[in-house]
Symmetry: C2
């Protein structure tokens, strides 16, 4: 199954009655990577039926409240629910101190360990590599230390053609080497080429998350040709001065970055509460980059290799 | 108008799809006193149409997350909304450090001042007195430093009988002394007794908030004969051992405290997520103390002098 992105919230600054602050989950191979965790994220999980079990990694872009005030509550709930598995937490260095202080004074005993990975403010940096994916942080230009995240699915093994391996009586012990691309040498010395026994693996995807940031072409080098780019679009073009003042972007600017970076799809979010009709932002973005979608809470998106749907 | 209590949340520990953690607002003379502020309180304010403007005081009972994780988000929203008025914050001493740390690393510039009043863990203490009310903290027995709060409305001036003061041509400048109970001496030396010119003031009310606490008859002396007692009732009687273990109370125990303290009405809350049907808790409490109500979120209660409705 392809990775799936669940949008839990994508409003900026203050919540509205209908919209909640930034949080999303990328599910890859039954592991869930949460990115940002605004206040009420645990309620959004309940509302949309996404279980917090299986969240192995939480990435926090920066320490503005609409991106992390829900973290401590989610960690508490995880502990009260009996979680035992390590939780890998990625974020700006002070995040650990903030969480630890609240745990200390709340007399909270977490049943699991938080493994903390501080992000670097100035350079692209590989944070974590698992067998399924790697998480890379890169600098964004915002009012405080802020990073974007790249999540690269890692190459998968080739698919074994069951009928072929059975026909040649290839023992199970060789499957891993077949998946890795090796040919098979039979006991009589006959070589059966890998291509006869396996098919190409499912293509892996690249996802980039950029929130919050001023319009900054410098980031194009980090996100070049990703399959899906989430980029903040707090304002519309007629608020461009305001966007610049607060180190945010307009929908048009998000689309311009997507176009420059030749990405597959663009998801826009981090909407200002002033916009009731988000389609105005969508339309503005589409004039520059047609393959744009609104990252509205409650939506989920299957992330597919760009080559499989690229229409631009 | 009598004081009004708005229940914004009254669930314990973790939220459910329908129920949120503790927060309530007592509105007295257009000032709003918030008591506890669990995660998502600002969303609950939006949901129930209670504006955060006018919140002058916030009392935090203790530093378990379901009682304060929504505070930093609410403060941020107040600032983003342009608040200028001082905010009086009452709570355990480390609360200030926790808030300050998040403000520091979030690069937040609050437009208003937070005036902090640390609560005392071991003794009843007058925290604040305004012209309309006083806030008193008193110790509760919980797993960490935890206090209850008494909010006493302060005596109001007597009501001037307009027709009488006009009949005697009493100048406006004497109204304050009439409200305070003085007689009026006319220029010819005639004394007009206050009782002829004024009526009794609206009775003032006493409200007590007790969450979270183990069953503790020691608190009866603090809350004796208050008009309304909010007391936690996390569990039912069949979970009494569990209640004791976690320093919580059952509905029966809350009712027992209400009966011992001879209060007017009892509101129960801080319900465990295990209970879908809260009427079971209500019924258990009513067997001991008939005048019990469920403090369910979204409800508001006019707080009336106990003598005006006492049915026990």
């Amino acid at each position: 199954m392809n990775p799936t992105l669940y949008i839990l919230g994508s409003n900026s600054a203050t919540p509205t009655r209908e919209r909640h602050p930034t949080s999303q989950i990328l599910k890859i191979d039954n592991q869930k990577i949460m990115i940002d965790c605004g206040e009420g994220t645990q309620n959004q999980l309940l509302k949309f039926g996404v279980r917090h079990t299986g969240i192995s990694h939480i990435c926090i872009s920066h320490l503005h409240g609409d991106h992390y005030f829900g973290l401590i509550g989610l960690l508490s709930t995880m502990s009260l629910s009996g979680r035992k598995e390590d939780l890998h937490l990625i974020g700006p260095p002070p995040l650990k101190e903030i969480i630890d202080l609240q745990i200390l004074h709340g007399g909270i005993h977490l049943n699991f360990e938080i493994v903390f990975y501080p992000t670097q403010p100035d350079a692209k940096s590989l944070v974590i590599q698992t067998k399924s994916f790697e998480i890379i942080s890169f600098p964004l230009k915002h009012r405080i230390h802020c990073t974007g995240f790249l999540i690269h699915e890692l190459p998968k093994g080739r698919h074994i053609i069951k009928s072929e391996v059975e026909k040649h009586n290839i023992p199970f012990v060789y499957y891993n080497s077949l998946k890795a691309g090796s040919d098979f040498t039979a006991s009589d010395g006959t070589i059966i080429p890998n291509k006869q026994l396996t098919e190409d693996p499912t293509p892996t995807i690249k996802y980039a998350f950029c929130s919050d940031t001023i319009f900054d072409p410098e980031i194009v080098k980090y996100i070049h040709k990703v399959d899906v780019l989430y980029h903040e679009a707090t304002f519309m073009k007629n608020q461009e001065d305001r966007a610049k003042l607060y180190f945010h972007s307009t929908a048009e600017q998000a689309a311009t970055i997507a176009k420059m970076a030749e990405v597959g799809q663009l998801f826009i979010g981090h909407f200002s509460s002033r916009y009731d009709n988000l389609n105005l932002l969508l339309e503005e973005s589409k004039t520059i980059f047609e393959n744009t979608y609104l990252a509205e809470e409650g939506k989920s998106f299957e992330i597919i290799k760009a080559a499989n749907y690229l229409t631009i």
